[in-house]
């Protein structure tokens, strides 16, 4: 069944959108990532204009993250205090990111920079996670308990705060910085940023994996909601019909994803996420390296020079 999207002004298959939303929703529930880093490029492929795709997937991420976070609240795997600290950083970061984004736009190379950002960040994070998880799995096979660094530079900073749910007593500076940098990336790359925040929380802040997913979902809800409003009021690019179709699939998928996620071991979960991140990174890198079949592209509404 074809459906005409009022803002995007394209006609697409409704079941394709439902399926797409469902697929990304499962991932969102499993890994605590918003799925924007997959959703946005997938929407490009089916012909949705990039500005609409970016803005609308932000709206869709709000829905699937809320759906996922309730399940985590019930299981008490959300560190609210940590979430709020990350959120403060995130909102500031998002505002800074928009300023930076507009500056890059005036230079005329924003597409390339966004793609390079993706390749570099996804490559580094995917690589680190993959090898860390492999090592952890090998260690548990040999019977040794996995070692966790208890004291690093993170613990020497002032403004300490107790995060009971995470079992941490650390300075608020690192979480605020994590939130801030993720906020900047959110604005530039048009994603929730969970795929960067989750590893940062595990490896940088030393939070337990089970708490990380719920907490990042909590933070993502507010940052993506903020982004949606910014896009709707400045660029008029949020397509509500597209969002509804994606989120119907998305919220159902997220529920399945959450129950799959709780049944899997933390290491397995991490290695799966790492593989996915590396796959997206590889695809984007190939796009940059191989000669495209069409060298020309159309950007409607010629911008400034």
């Amino acid at each position: 069944m074809q459906i005409y999207l009022p803002i995007a002004e394209v006609s697409v298959n409704a079941f394709l959108l439902l399926g797409l939303g469902g697929f990304v929703g499962v991932l969102s529930g499993m890994f605590g990532v918003g799925g924007g880093f997959l959703m946005t490029p997938l929407l490009f492929f089916i012909g949705v204009p990039p500005p609409v795709a970016v803005a609308t997937s932000a709206n869709q991420i709000v829905a699937s993250s809320i759906s996922g976070v309730f399940a985590h609240f019930r299981r008490k795997t959300v560190d609210l205090r940590m979430g709020v600290v990350l959120l403060i950083g995130g909102l500031v970061g998002a505002a800074l990111g928009v300023v930076l984004f507009n500056y890059l736009k005036s230079l005329g190379q924003v597409d390339l920079l966004v793609k390079l950002f993706y390749v570099v960040f996804l490559g580094i994070i995917g690589g680190i996670m993959f090898f860390e998880s492999l090592r952890a799995i090998r260690q548990t096979r040999r019977g040794k308990p996995p070692k966790r660094k208890k004291h690093g530079w993170v613990h020497g900073l002032p403004l300490k705060m107790r995060f009971r749910t995470s079992g941490l007593y650390i300075s608020v500076i690192p979480p605020v910085l994590v939130g801030l940098s993720v906020g900047i990336l959110t604005a530039i790359m048009g994603v929730g940023g969970g795929f960067i925040m989750v590893p940062a929380m595990i490896y940088l802040l030393g939070m337990p994996t089970k708490v990380v997913v719920g907490t990042s979902l909590f933070q993502i809800i507010f940052v993506t909601a903020f982004t949606t409003l910014l896009h709707a009021t400045t660029n008029f690019t949020v397509d509500v019909a597209l969002a509804v179709l994606l989120l119907v699939g998305g919220v159902i998928g997220a529920q399945f994803g959450t129950s799959i996620g709780t049944r899997m071991k933390a290491e397995q979960l991490r290695i799966l996420l790492a593989v996915m991140v590396l796959a997206v990174c590889g695809k984007l890198a190939l796009d940059l390296l191989l000669q495209p079949s069409e060298l020309y592209s159309i950007a409607s509404g010629a911008g400034g020079h």
């Binding site: 069944m1 074809q2 459906i3 005409y4 009022p6 803002i7 002004e9 394209v10 006609s11 012909g47 709206n59 869709q60 709000v62 829905a63 699937s64 993250s65 809320i66 759906s67 309730f70 399940a71 019930r74 005329g108 190379q109 597409d111 390339l112 909601a225 949606t228 409003l229 896009h231 709707a232 009021t233 400045t234 008029f236 949020v238 509500v240 019909a241 969002a243 509804v244 989120l247 119907v248 919220v251 159902i252 997220a254 529920q255 940059l288 390296l289 191989l290 000669q291 495209p292 069409e294 060298l295 020309y296 592209s297 159309i298 950007a299 409607s300 509404g301 010629a302 911008g303 020079h305």
Partner: protein
Amino acid sequence: MLRLALLLCLATLPLRAEEVVLGLSRDRVAITATFEGSDILIFGAVKREAPISEVPLGVVITVAGPSQPVQVRRKERRFGIWVNTDAVDLDAAPTFYAVATSGPFEQVLTNTEDLRHRVSIPRAIRSVGAASMAEDAERFTDALIRIRERTDAYQLLENAVALDEQTLFRTAISLPANLTEGAYKTRIFLTREGRVVSRFETVIDVRKVGLERWLFTLSRQQPLAYGLMSLAIAIAAGWGASAAFRALRRT
């Protein structure tokens, strides 16, 4: 520019010996939520006082969507990766453009008349300042046409106008599903020996209706309300699905 102006001055207006009487299968296209594109039948007759001329008649029909500025970018290999390097801004390119003719395009319309009335696809695109932005600006225009022809946004339909007894003509233009809202200018040219002897213009109105119309208007006029509504839907859907699944699991 000067040459163009001279041509326009020199071209004498033909006598209105023949006139078009036009019919449209529909003069209004409504874009609903399940819009899948639309076929429009354009038909008519030639009204004339004098007897039919010896020279065969040609008919050219064009349908043009609203024009918008467009930027075309080209990729080039720099430091091993493909980067957008050159860009050309085209002042106005129609979002949809179809030309249907009763014979091979070059025979039905001369180059001069094409230039004057902007009939062929390349002529329908306005690119005044383009030449100063890149040495090979034409290749950017060609690329735009190539990309849009692939999605049926631009169509050149030679021999698609059926002409009976030099009097009755008809053609069908199929509008794709990805339509932009606006007034679609429809022109009919009658030609003899490639020269335009009569022209007729009308408009097909393409509009969003119902829910599509309401959402579009709300998003432009009250963006904050629209944004909050989108968020409210997202929150309600997320919470609803979570609650529904909980209820399912309990039973």
